[in-house]
Amino acid sequence: MSLEIDMAITAFSGAAALTSLCVLFVMLGTINPYHRPEVPSLGALAVIFVATYVVSETHDIEFGLDALRFTLIEGALAIIRILPPAFVLLTAMLLRTSFRKRPEDPLLALLESESGSV
């Protein structure tokens, strides 16, 4: 496989694995009595497992903890590469937001009129 395709597969799999790991950690941090985390946890673990397997096959690394670390780090590096374009986009959006006028909210206007009539 060419280097570019290897890079693309690694970035895709790594980002998917890292996002699934984040999902697992967030579920851990927000656990509450109404949570049903079994199925989502299994789904996230399956994504991490498949992504690590794909990366280990692509880079000829033995499937295991080292392959998992490599996959997650490559995912994190790929996500960090999103930051500069995202920063440009966010700056443009916030420039627009800074100069916008706050729209009238019909729900709040209704509340005002109802409380005034009581």
């Binding site: 570019e4 890079m7 693309a8 970035a11 895709f12 799999s13 790594g14 980002a15 998917a16 694995a17 996002t19 699934s20 790991l21 999902v23 950690f25 967030v26 579920m27 851990l28 941090g29 927000t30 049903r36 079994e38 199925v39 989502p40 299994l42 789904g43 996230a44 399956a46 994504v47 992504a51 903890l65 670390r69 490599f70 780090i73 490559e74 995912g75 994190a76 590096l77 790929a78 996500i79 960090i80 590469r81 999103i82 930051l83 500069p84 374009p85 920063f87 440009v88 966010l90 700056t91 916030l94 937001t97 800074s98 916008r100 706050r102 909210d105 729900l107 709040l108 509340l111 409380s115």
Partner: protein, 180 residues
């Protein structure tokens, strides 16, 4: 795995858990431990007495190179608080935010200017990976929710509950922040 690599992963776990904790609860009353736990995690990732091994060292160096994100985040937060988005415009907050964004631009400009087409395409492909993981998670949540037997229809709100909901809406969406 070396303890220094473990420290990076422990920091990552704490940082993500802290952000998750911070997002729980209503917008006007966030979890009090969320931000400190996230900051502790970030510190654990970045501060070392010994250089972490490969591949973790690549992530740490890349994060250090991306420290312009800190003024950008604070600047964006101030701009969002000052802009007429959630409540009336607050020009002082808005004016405090934009210089921070400008500082972030000054630091980040070499990275932005040095972004190649390959970097951009890799970032786009990584976004697809993120989207795939989130879609799988959403499908799993839907499956888990569908496994729960449906509950009986709830009673409508009483007059007292209606008044309470109305007061909450007025206090938090009434166009004035709590501080003003």
């Amino acid at each position: 795995m070396s303890p220094w690599a473990l420290q990076v992963w422990l920091g990552f776990a704490l940082c993500t858990i802290g952000i998750g904790m911070h997002r729980t609860g209503p917008a006007f009353s966030r979890h009090r431990f969320g931000a400190p736990v996230a900051m502790l995690g970030l510190a654990l990732m970045l501060v070392h007495t010994h250089e972490p091994p490969e591949p973790e060292v690549g992530l740490v160096l890349s994060m250090v190179d991306s420290l312009w994100v800190a003024p950008a985040v604070f600047g964006f937060a101030l701009v969002l608080m000052g802009a007429p988005l959630y409540w009336k415009a607050r020009p002082a907050t808005l004016l405090a935010g934009w210089p921070l964004v400008a500082v972030a631009w000054y630091i980040a400009y070499p990275s932005i200017a040095g972004t190649s087409l390959t970097d951009f395409l890799t970032a786009l492909i990584a976004l697809l990976g993120v989207a795939l993981a989130l879609v799988v998670f959403a499908l799993c949540v839907r499956t888990a929710e569908r496994m729960v037997p449906p509950e009986d229809e709830t009673e409508p709100l009483t007059e007292r509950e209606k008044r309470y909901v109305e007061s909450v809406l007025k206090r938090h969406l009434g166009g004035e922040s709590d501080e003003s």
